[in-house]
Symmetry: C2
Subunit: 402 residues, 2 copies
Amino acid sequence: MPDWTALAADLDAADPLATFRDEFVIDEPDLCYLDGNSLGRLPKRTIPRVEAALRQQWGGRLVRGWNDGWLDLPVRLAGMLAKVLNVQPTEILVGDTTSLNLYKLALGALRAHDKRAILTTSDNFPSDLYVLQGLGAELQVVEPDLLESSISADTALVTASHVAYGSGQRSDIAHLSEIARKNGAWSLWDLSHSAGVVPLDLSTADMAVGCGYKYLNGGPGVPAFLYLRSDLHETVLNPIQGWFGQDRPFSFEPEYQPVAGIAKFQVSTPSILSMVALESGLELYPEAGSELIWQKAVSLTAFFIDMVCSEMPGQFEIVTPLDPAQRGAHVSLRHPEAWRITRALTDRMNVIPDFRRPDMVRFGFSPLTTSFAEVATAVHRLTKVMKDRIFDELSDEMPTVT
Amino acid sequence: MPDWTALAADLDAADPLATFRDEFVIDEPDLCYLDGNSLGRLPKRTIPRVEAALRQQWGGRLVRGWNDGWLDLPVRLAGMLAKVLNVQPTEILVGDTTSLNLYKLALGALRAHDKRAILTTSDNFPSDLYVLQGLGAELQVVEPDLLESSISADTALVTASHVAYGSGQRSDIAHLSEIARKNGAWSLWDLSHSAGVVPLDLSTADMAVGCGYKYLNGGPGVPAFLYLRSDLHETVLNPIQGWFGQDRPFSFEPEYQPVAGIAKFQVSTPSILSMVALESGLELYPEAGSELIWQKAVSLTAFFIDMVCSEMPGQFEIVTPLDPAQRGAHVSLRHPEAWRITRALTDRMNVIPDFRRPDMVRFGFSPLTTSFAEVATAVHRLTKVMKDRIFDELSDEMPTVT
């Protein structure tokens, strides 16, 4: 059996992104944090920036802060996010939340389309399904492998997660968007589990949404984003007609007149502290470079899968595809005791994965913060949990958040 | 002519709320900040709390922060806001923005009502009018003094600002809501310019919205709130079907099933840094007490009006009602040179009011932070601007934000 600890040390020594770990607050060196796909770590540089936004900008400049830079913040962040999504800054809006952005785009699309049916997959985020169920459209939910063949001449909108939150299965955006287009449908992708870690090709996609608090390390509940291809900017309108989506918002005109371009999807006053926090996270992405980030994601997930298969052969079903081209940066293991295994890791072994119902333990790998040593330690601890059946000691009561 | 400076000193000496000014960051003692109704000042206690939320909670606890208290934050804030709005905590939701909350309630109400017409006033926030124009309802916009007589058997929803952002005119919520009710209509009030400063009686009102960054001192773009009377909780539903409005959100059920009560109006992950900032602002309200806050608002506005009328007789039209029962905590002065006067005050005299198109200078008075001395100084400076016609030196070019 390989010496995984030594192998991890070699991989860390050769990792060009290893020093990025120093850019983040890491209070507990013993903690294996494999949940950056739920909430990314805090960049050290975020702290003085949020403090400055509070103390100097709000405290010192008061309402003048809006003219001193706050109003430009969404545009500045769009410019930074454009590098992550590989699209034009003018096609991106930063603000609100993923669900709100999905609502705005999907309802806006439905109203602009002559067809009524929305097609989505059963492995999409439940949060996305809830939003879609509330649009008054015909909603068709199919198994992920039936998505392509289910796109028909009746379809107005095809929408799915780029990387499925549970299985980690990655869809081929370019191909599926092209199929949608050939059928006269638009495509809308949820990039929450891929933005900032997986290569993105939105060249044939029409719309996308995603959040800032996972691989983008923006912090709990920070603004999300939406993407709308530029040639749809005057076709797909925001159903929530907001002040900040108005042409000349500070003229206080009584009639809504949407501003040209993507800004019409803004609704209200942006949340400044959250925007400032997100800025630091976005800044790190081009510093590391998309290629190295994705390469490390592949290495981390492969190392994890190899070690699990080697140390605990046959004990788990690897739900996530073994081909890196078909997965994101998280790996899910299926086991009937998944919940109690997750709890044993969290409560007894100082490893934080995620439980996903009904029977998956999900491990997320953030290339900027996760080390190979951390992965090796986590799997060694998982091996101990399984060997000593530590999960037997735990109740199967479910908590509020899993 | 009275010695206004001496009078202000006496009023400050006798002011039971005078010490609350020490609770806030005040960097420039010379600045007369009469725009707390656009953005309230930064409470000193907000700084360590936001820092703790960043450093200890996000940085140290990572995703465990959700179970350590973040998930309870909206409920905790609702409990605090209930004291401000004088309603039950279970009738309040904190989150999203004023426009989003207005959209959710107004559209939810329209869908639950058998009538289709929305009645509002021309002095309502343009931001509110934009949202209402996007609902696909019949929208009737009337002059504020015609609101009562325009409520008819066709009206589904009566909605207006409690205190008009421009004129400062305050509506009688209890009376107008009762008239609406007698006509089979629901009422929805925007409390943005009254929450935290004006006495509130929502006993006959059905719905309300408002923001946290004005008199509640929550900070730029902090979460807003909505109020829905408890007996409408199962009738008026949230059109934006969100994860956090789901019954048992962490079960990941595929079908949306709204949770009982007000929580169904939550959509997504709450913005934690902003919520934490708002908490400090809300905390100060019961410490000062609603009665003393309102008494001081009356005194500040009366002192300002008296001094303006005495020092500059006939130079301005006082747009805001002279009867305190009919106004909020801001006073607007009409003048053909309003824009250049505002600019002279801001750029030359270190006084910050607001300009409101087409011809008003608006002065806001925040009882927790505004001193009588500050008001006296501001009016002396305004007197100088008018006497020396300092505004003549300025161009009339309009800025981005006014």
